[in-house]
């Protein structure tokens, strides 16, 4: 078997395009993943046209609230690009330079202030977007909606905070500036105390009326005490208390590395084994080899072994490349090996089944791509993202191909927060045995097609 393995490696070396792809592919993937996960997520570039007059403030009672700073708040979330006019903003968005444009109209603060009057007007901001395709339209919509929701929440909290301060003045009393003059507010608490102290001096006939006033002041004080936290809660009435019912998940960058490593393993192993087996038929050597020189199971084992060896090397090369950008936990190397070896065995056996079923190298390469790419994409569909029935179908389909268990095994191997590795490894072992049996059956008609 070693001579056949040596022969296949020599042939691989003599195919410059294949050899370059095998080396270049993991390096490219490692660089892409490395750059992507080692940098802060880029902020979307949004044009901001602020037409609010300088010094405008949201009013509170007879005074004005501190500057809300809506524009500053927004520019913390996105990269704001100043533009001079609405037309300039529209042009930049249309040409794709910017994700969207946000226009804060001159009357925004006036409209916000009108909310506390008898003639309220809804404050509006204008958003310009370029919905050149449905995917981008959805993404931009989600981003802008989230951005404005956060800005609205911030403004509501500022107003609630200021409202609470005024309520405290009414309850507890204190100083208050009106048009530059300081006004002393007595407060309900103090009012009730003064009235209580005056009660003995009031004629008995007038006391019931005084008692009604004292009761009102006391009730108002007590109830307004709880109004302040209530107003604060109105800004965000529902708080989130998140509990995960699944196993702890690894960090996003670990998952990204696991996806990249599994994709590398898939394509390298699947294509190599399928192509190498199909080549034996294309070169007419299959009949010669199996005519007494090598048994069919031994030939299958050699091809799968070739895929496992090259797949292991290329995937480790990729992980070593990623190590330049992100620190990997090398103490888990044994688990990496287990995940890669069993993953490669699964893909190798699947490749052998495809190679035995197809007629030539080109057909099998096409077949391998057509089978593996959709399955890999389906394996990344999370539960809840599609209907329950469709998800069940996806679950069955992805369970029949080694990608999903290989991805789970790789994720578990890379980080301790991942799910258990035993289940995926057992799944891969079963798939390897099943595909090897299928390949064995397909080989029976291999030489006679």
């Amino acid at each position: 078997m070693r001579w056949l393995l040596l022969k296949d490696l020599t042939i691989l070396r003599r195919s410059p395009l294949q050899a370059v792809l095998l080396v270049a592919y993991p390096i490219l993937i490692a660089l892409l993943i490395g750059f992507a996960i080692s940098r802060e997520p880029g902020k979307p570039r949004v044009a901001l046209l602020d037409q609010i007059p300088p010094g405008a403030r949201v009013a509170g009672g007879n005074g004005k609230l501190p500057a809300v700073g809506v524009d500053q708040r927004i520019c913390r979330e996105v990269e704001c690009v100043d533009v001079g006019s609405r037309d300039e903003a529209a042009t930049k968005v249309r040409e794709g330079d910017l994700l969207a444009a946000l226009i804060l109209p001159a009357d925004l603060i006036d409209r916000l202030n009108s909310l506390s009057t008898l003639n309220p007007e809804t404050p509006e901001v204008e958003v310009l977007v370029n919905e050149e395709n449905p995917l981008k339209a959805q993404a931009v919509d989600d981003r802008i909606t989230a951005l404005l929701a956060r800005a609205n929440l911030f403004i509501a909290r500022q107003i609630a905070k200021e409202g609470g301060r005024y309520l405290n003045l009414v309850v507890d009393g204190g100083g208050f500036d009106v048009l530059g003059q300081s006004v002393e507010i007595l407060g309900l608490r103090e009012t009730a105390s003064i009235l209580e102290s005056l009660r003995p001096d009031v004629p008995a006939a007038r006391r019931p009326e005084l008692d009604r006033v004292i009761r009102f002041a006391t009730l108002a004080r007590d109830n307004l005490d709880i109004a302040s936290p209530l107003i604060d809660r109105l800004a965000q009435p529902i708080a989130v208390d998140k509990h995960s019912v699944s196993a702890p998940t690894p960090p996003l960058e670990v998952f990204a590395i696991a996806v990249a490593a599994t994709l590398t393993l898939t394509f390298v192993t699947l294509l190599l084994v399928a192509g190498s087996l199909a080549l034996e038929r294309e070169e007419n050597t299959f009949a010669r080899l199996t005519g007494g020189l090598v048994s069919r199971p031994a030939l299958l084992a050699e091809k799968i072994g070739l895929g496992v060896a090259v797949g292991l090397l290329v995937t480790l090369l990729m992980l070593a490349g990623v190590q330049i950008f992100v620190s990997l936990d090398w103490s888990r190397f044994g688990l990496w090996l287990a995940a890669i070896l069993l993953g490669a065995a699964g893909f190798g056996a699947a490749g052998a089944a495809l190679g035995a079923a197809a007629r030539d190298v080109r057909a099998v390469s096409l077949l391998a791509f057509m089978v593996s790419l959709p399955i890999a994409l389906l394996s990344l569909v999370p539960s809840g993202a599609v209907g329950a029935g469709l998800y069940d179908v996806i679950r069955v389909l992805t369970a029949l191909f080694p990608f999903k268990p290989a991805l789970e095994a790789m994720t578990s191997a890379l980080d301790s927060a991942g799910p258990g590795i035993g289940g995926p490894l057992l799944h891969l072992a079963l798939l390897s045995a099943a595909y090897a049996a299928l390949a064995r059956i397909a080989l029976r008609r291999f030489a006679t097609i």
């Binding site: 001579w3 056949l4 022969k7 020599t10 042939i11 003599r14 195919s15 070169e283 007419n284 050597t285 009949a287 010669r288 080899l289 199996t290 005519g291 007494g292 020189l293 090598v294 030489a447 006679t448």
Partner: protein
């Protein structure tokens, strides 16, 4: 030997033997069962009935299309199969084959760069690596020019001269007459004739004298026609 593909009987009880150093040509129209017979003799196809006996079980097999790795050199191909044949001295065996094929100077060339004739010589040399008592060749001269064909037959005749039994199939009736010491005629899976070219011509002479006096191909076609093929 009997071989069936579903309902169709590809070989209907064909029986023959070949002596050491004998050159046996298997001829017949398309679909006669020539390749099936040789594949069974080579062990790459199992018969539904019948057995194959050869001294020490050694049979060298040369398929119709060159079974070589085109991205390996001449030497690498020979060395790989010598090792798979478990030759004690694989490199020595390669040297012998290179000398036999006359391709020693081109040992480091990729097989893909060789002409069809030279590829066929390597193809045959690989069949000889097992030092077989019997060599099976399926249409060995297909695609070769006359000069290459002449060299190929000279090479095969040399092997037979050293005691190797050679069984070959061919569509070229003149070639079968010229190089086959014995002819095995198959038609629709049946063995119709087993003997020398002269014996076949003699058989035709009794049925169609004019055809027997023409070229061998005419005599052969007449022979088949008189037997309903």
């Amino acid at each position: 030997m009997v071989k069936r593909y579903g309902e169709r009987e590809a070989l209907k009880g064909v029986d023959f033997s070949a002596d050491p150093g004998e050159l046996v040509a298997v001829i017949g129209p398309n679909g006669a069962g020539k390749t099936t017979l040789l594949s069974i003799l080579a062990g790459t196809l199992k018969p539904d009935a019948g057995t194959v006996d050869s001294p020490n079980g050694d049979v060298g097999w040369v398929p119709q299309q060159a079974a070589l790795y085109r991205r390996l050199t001449v030497e690498e191909n020979l060395l790989l199969f010598a090792r798979l044949e478990r030759r004690e001295d694989p490199r020595g065996a390669v040297g012998e084959m290179l000398e036999l094929t006359g391709l020693g100077e081109r040992r480091r060339e990729l097989v893909a760069r060789l002409s069809g004739g030279n590829q066929q010589r390597i193809n045959i040399a690989i069949g000889l690596l097992a030092e077989p008592a019997v060599l099976l060749l399926d249409e060995p001269s297909v695609g070769l020019d006359p000069r290459q064909r002449a060299r190929l037959w000279e090479f095969i005749a040399g092997l037979a001269g050293r005691g190797t039994s050679v069984v070959f199939s061919t569509h070229d009736i003149q070639e079968a007459e010229r190089y086959g010491r014995r002819l095995l005629v198959l038609a629709d899976g049946e063995g119709l004739f087993d003997g020398s070219a002269e014996q076949l011509r003699e058989a035709v002479r009794g049925e169609a004298p004019a055809a027997a006096e023409g070229d061998f191909e005419t005599a052969f076609v007449s022979y088949l026609q008189h037997r309903g093929h």
